[in-house]
Amino acid sequence: MSMLEVQNIHTYYDNIHALKGISLNVNEGEIVTLIGANGAGKSTTLKTISGLTKPREGAVRLHGNPLHTLPAHKIVEQGIIMVPEGRRVFGVLTVSENLEMGAFARNDKQAIAQDLEKVYSLFPRLKERRNQLAGTLSGGEQQMLATGRGLMGRPRVLLLDEPSMGLAPVLVDLIFDTIQQLHKQGTTILLVEQNARMALQVADRGYVLQSGEIVLSDSAENLRANESVQKAYLGIS
């Protein structure tokens, strides 16, 4: 059985039918990527898994236990951590307070302190600015903070929504290195990326989303070789 299982979910925003029966699964330790055009429903899929939006139909399960019936904060307690699109750091909190919030659901003080040091060594810039309000950070620094904040939750499943958006190439590499490192440590990752090329390089498998439906699912290798994927998402014609 898969670790995370999304079964035929339909999610609406009022009357907008954003997800029209999405099914996907993620096995323990895998990196799975979701690719698709703007508005395809990638973020909505992640939001439905993390409980910010509720599916009208269908189910989300972790190790067979339903998640879609739980409020968002309980889903976090299950180890499902989302790094949302557009960062969403707390601008009126300092960098270190933001990281603390990332560990809100945890009570293991010592391990939290260790993880904080890990995040600071991963992103030394954050350490330099730890007492600065997050709202005053640059866009790229905020993205580092959002990622670091996600790591502070000790994710079992990490949901990353466009973690490389707006970052300089060096930082994109850093983020993808981090993803691979987490992968090696056994973290399960569901990755949404505009940068489909990089996403398909690190991922084991991928799903292609189009207007709220999954139109293709295969191994990353096969998707890279797929002609229509190349045309639509990899810029190869």
Partner: protein, 359 residues
Amino acid sequence: MQLVRRFLPLVIGIYLLLFFGPLAGFDFFRIVGEIYNKPSLLLQQLINGLANGSIVAIVALGYTLVYGIIELVNFAHGDVFMLGAFMALTVIGATGVTETSTASEKLTAALLAGAAAIIFCGVINVIIERFAYRRLRNAPRLAPLISAIGVSFIVQNIGLFWGGLRSFFPIMGVNSAAPKAFPDLIGRVDVFKDWFGLDLPITLSTKELMVIVVAAALMVGLRLLVQYTKIGKAMRATAENRDAAKIMGIDIDRVISFTFLLGGALAGAAGLMFGLYNNTVVFTMGFTGGLRAFTSAVLGGIGNITGAMFGGILIGLLAAFSDQYFSSRWTNAWVFAILVTVMVFRPTGLMGENVGQKA
């Protein structure tokens, strides 16, 4: 030319004030004369204003905390403050202390009354949020606002009813709607003269000292709580972006409940302080007191904790000054004139700033 245009409104404003101000008690030359003849009176009014303003500020914190987290003007908050005063009066009545009891009996009664008022108002506020606001959290803004006005009427009528229960609580007196005498447990000992032997033209009574010290302690306590505790940080995070807070594992319903608990507890404490300071409470005090507190919160920049404290004290000082030098009948008009002026020139309030993006 530029300069003239810039200062013209100011000049016209001063001109109008000098001519028509006296109708509302603002007679510039008389006031300057009075202050010149007896400057100590001005200082005395500053002390009174500071004491009254401290109570207003504590109530204002409740408006600002709730607005900060769910962007609702909780019109029922002033009435919860009134319930605090009634609860305190009821408990003091039950302990049977009078103005002639010993100091330790009075202190015990006041502490009991304070504890009861704080717990009672905190719990009431949580219940109000749970039943009158929570379901409307994602509704158009007008809906919870109207609900709040409804709750305000209900709570006020509970006060009226409570005030009529003289067979259970003789301290309520015969008439349910009439102002009730609140025992003077502190007395008016002059701190300067009787404690320090200073012979000053102004007095600082023990009552005023109590109000100012307790209010300052509550404000410092609240600041520390919001700044340094885990729940305080969660409050700030929830206020800024509810969805982002949820995916940190924060139970925002609990954080919002806690915010109402805090606001209610502060209103309860303010109710006791008001009773002990003014020695009279009435079921409509929530409306008038609430209005001034709300004004203070807006003046300071609603949602801003420091702003609410500052605004409350400013309003207290202004009201004391107006009572003394303008005319007490015009005090509310002056308070609102200041509010309108500030809103026109600084819509975000004196200390308000646009922070972060809202969810």
